[in-house]
């Protein structure tokens, strides 16, 4: 069953085509990677999927969890918050945590999208509100525990070391209870040890949370280790698609990364 599918998704800025005719599909519980040189349009692809940009043409289709064999829903150009509500969560290339808030609050807020009590019940502190607030806190603490951040719960998010900030961003995305998780260069700026930890971490959360993962990454080691399939983008075009082994041997990919030798 496909979770996400793009059909000819294209994004143009003025005269520049950032992503050209993107056709990807992601199956349930897969880890799929998008790789490509800088400026290949990977983050733009993410932005189209999560609604930050509305594609110039083409479609983004999504299968809601537990919707059986119903047709896929067209989510092209929907507002980001609505897309998050449907179960797609993401992280950012340059970490975007809520800077002035604690680690716990960063995760707590991600529960807001699943909140069931209304504004007035919250303000009047009705029993239902207490219950949902307590549940939220418990869920968030469990989540922080599972990603190894529970000890830091009350520290300011930005006081964490870099690697832990990345982890917190993933935890925050998980707290929205997604079905599909988009990770934008989760290993950027990490040392080999941290990168290895992250690789295991991503594989583990996929199993623990029953996730489907789409990831952008430059670290080939991670990509080759955990991806089921890989898409390669170059100048907005999809130049290759296949299993890690297939991609490693693909001459086009090697050319895109290393450049063609001058004659």
């Amino acid at each position: 069953m496909s979770v996400l599918k793009t059909e000819g998704a294209t994004m143009r800025f003025g005269g520049v085509t950032a992503v050209d005719n993107l056709n990807i599909h992601i199956e349930n519980n897969e880890i799929v990677a998008i790789i490509g040189p800088n400026g290949a349009g990977k983050t733009t692809a993410f932005n189209m999927i999560t609604g930050v940009y509305k594609p110039t043409s083409g479609q983004v289709l999504y299968q809601k969890p537990n919707s059986g064999n119903a047709a896929m829903e067209n989510i092209t150009g929907k507002r980001p918050d609505l897309i998050a509500g449907l179960g797609i969560a993401r992280t950012f290339q340059n970490i975007r945590l809520f800077k002035e808030q604690s680690v716990l609050d960063n995760v707590l807020i991600a529960n807001h999208v699943r909140l069931k009590n209304g504004f007035f019940s919250a303000m009047l502190h009705w029993p239902f509100y207490y219950k949902s607030e307590r549940e939220m806190r418990e869920r968030s603490m469990v989540l922080l525990e599972s990603v190894g951040l529970a000890d830091h719960a009350n520290e300011l998010a930005t006081s964490l070391p870099y690697g832990l900030q990345r982890r917190l961003e993933i935890a925050r995305a998980l707290a929205t209870q997604p079905q599909l998780l988009l990770l934008d260069e989760p290993a950027a700026g990490m040392n080999p040890k941290e990168t290895e930890d992250l690789t295991q971490f991503v594989a583990q959360i996929r199993d623990d949370f029953q996730l489907t993962v789409l990831l952008i990454e430059h670290h080939m080691q991670i990509v080759m280790d955990i991806s089921d399939r890989i898409y390669v983008l170059d100048y907005g075009k999809t130049i290759a698609h296949g299993s890690p082994a297939e991609i490693q041997g693909n001459p086009d990919v090697i050319t895109a990364y290393l450049g063609v030798e001058e004659e």
């Binding site: 800025f13 983050t43 932005n47 930050v52 950012f92």
Partner: protein
């Protein structure tokens, strides 16, 4: 029909004045991304400078004008150095708050220095005299203001497009960091932006005093806001836009009251209505470029 043309002349005068002051807003915004709330008060101070030079110290008007221009220019540069330069790297909202603070300080300062009693602005040369063209009586000001404005704009555009300082200004407004790396002297460029903007505001202030010859410490507030609106209508950061925006707004104000005299009480509200319409329909104004936020 004569009344119609009189109103057109009137609209042109007010519009040209708006344009002169709007350029200051648009230039500062182009470089610092700051609505310089104090710009209207710089305008007010220029009026007082002119008043003192001509009416109190009896300096001939042609010398007085030069003195006023220099004094206003220095004031603008001083404000930038003391209130904006120290917090240039702070969040943009701090800059905005600082400019509101400066505005507040200048108004209070003017109240103490010049008292709140309205003063009569001196008349300069024959600007306030009337002139009859084809049966239509207009002030000479209606001819001079647009001409002066156009000459100054032409000079300014030459400066910006042809000189090194102008190139630096364009570079800084395009990309602050890169311009710095390329060796542009940021401090000097910003200083000259404020100097030019303030000087044009001073010219506007002197001409304004010919049209509405009453000065008090809060005189700059309304024209200031309206000129900012003119800059937004034209597309903020764009000098030609500020000129077109100023002329449009001046015309609009005068002609609506001419067509519907019953609305004269709401005259000051037109600009704000226009602003809100522009922001909703075309937030980048007539000549502005679209900016996409990077994620």
């Amino acid at each position: 029909m004569a009344l119609f043309w009189q109103n057109v002349a009137n609209g042109l005068t007010v519009g040209s004045l708006y344009a002169l002051v709007a350029i200051g807003y648009t230039m500062v915004y182009g470089i610092l991304r700051l609505i310089n709330f104090a710009h209207g008060d710089i305008f007010m101070m220029a009026m007082y400078f002119a008043f003192f030079a001509i009416s109190i110290f009896y300096i001939p008007w042609y010398i007085a004008i030069i003195l006023v221009l220099v004094a206003t220019m220095l004031l603008g540069m001083l404000i930038e150095k003391t209130a904006y330069a120290p917090i240039r790297n702070a969040p943009r909202i701090s800059l905005l708050i600082s400019s509101i603070g400066v505005s507040y300080l200048l108004e209070n300062l003017a109240t103490v220095l010049f008292t709140g009693v309205p003063r009569q602005f001196p008349s300069i040369g024959s600007l306030q005299n009337s002139l009859v063209i084809g049966g239509v009586t207009i002030q000479q000001l209606a001819i001079y203001t647009p001409v002066v404005m156009l000459i100054l704009v032409a000079l300014l555009l030459t400066l910006i497009n042809k000189t090194k300082t102008g190139m630096a200004m364009r570079a800084v407004s395009k990309d602050f960091e890169t311009a710095k790396l390329m060796g542009v002297n940021i401090n000097r460029t910003i200083s000259s932006t404020f100097a030019i903007g303030s000087m044009l505001a001073a010219v506007g202030a002197i001409m304004w005093g010919q049209k509405y010859p009453q000065i008090q410490p809060y005189i700059g507030v309304m024209p200031g806001l309206k000129c900012f609106i003119a800059a937004v209508i034209g597309g903020i950061g764009n000098i030609k836009g500020a000129v077109v925006g100023g002329l449009l707004l001046g015309m609009l104000e005068i002609m609506i009251v001419y067509a519907q005299p019953g609305l004269s009480g709401y005259k000051d509200a037109f600009a704000f209505v226009a602003l809100i319409l522009v922001l909703l329909i075309r937030p980048t104004g007539l000549f502005g470029e679209k900016v996409t936020d990077k994620v």
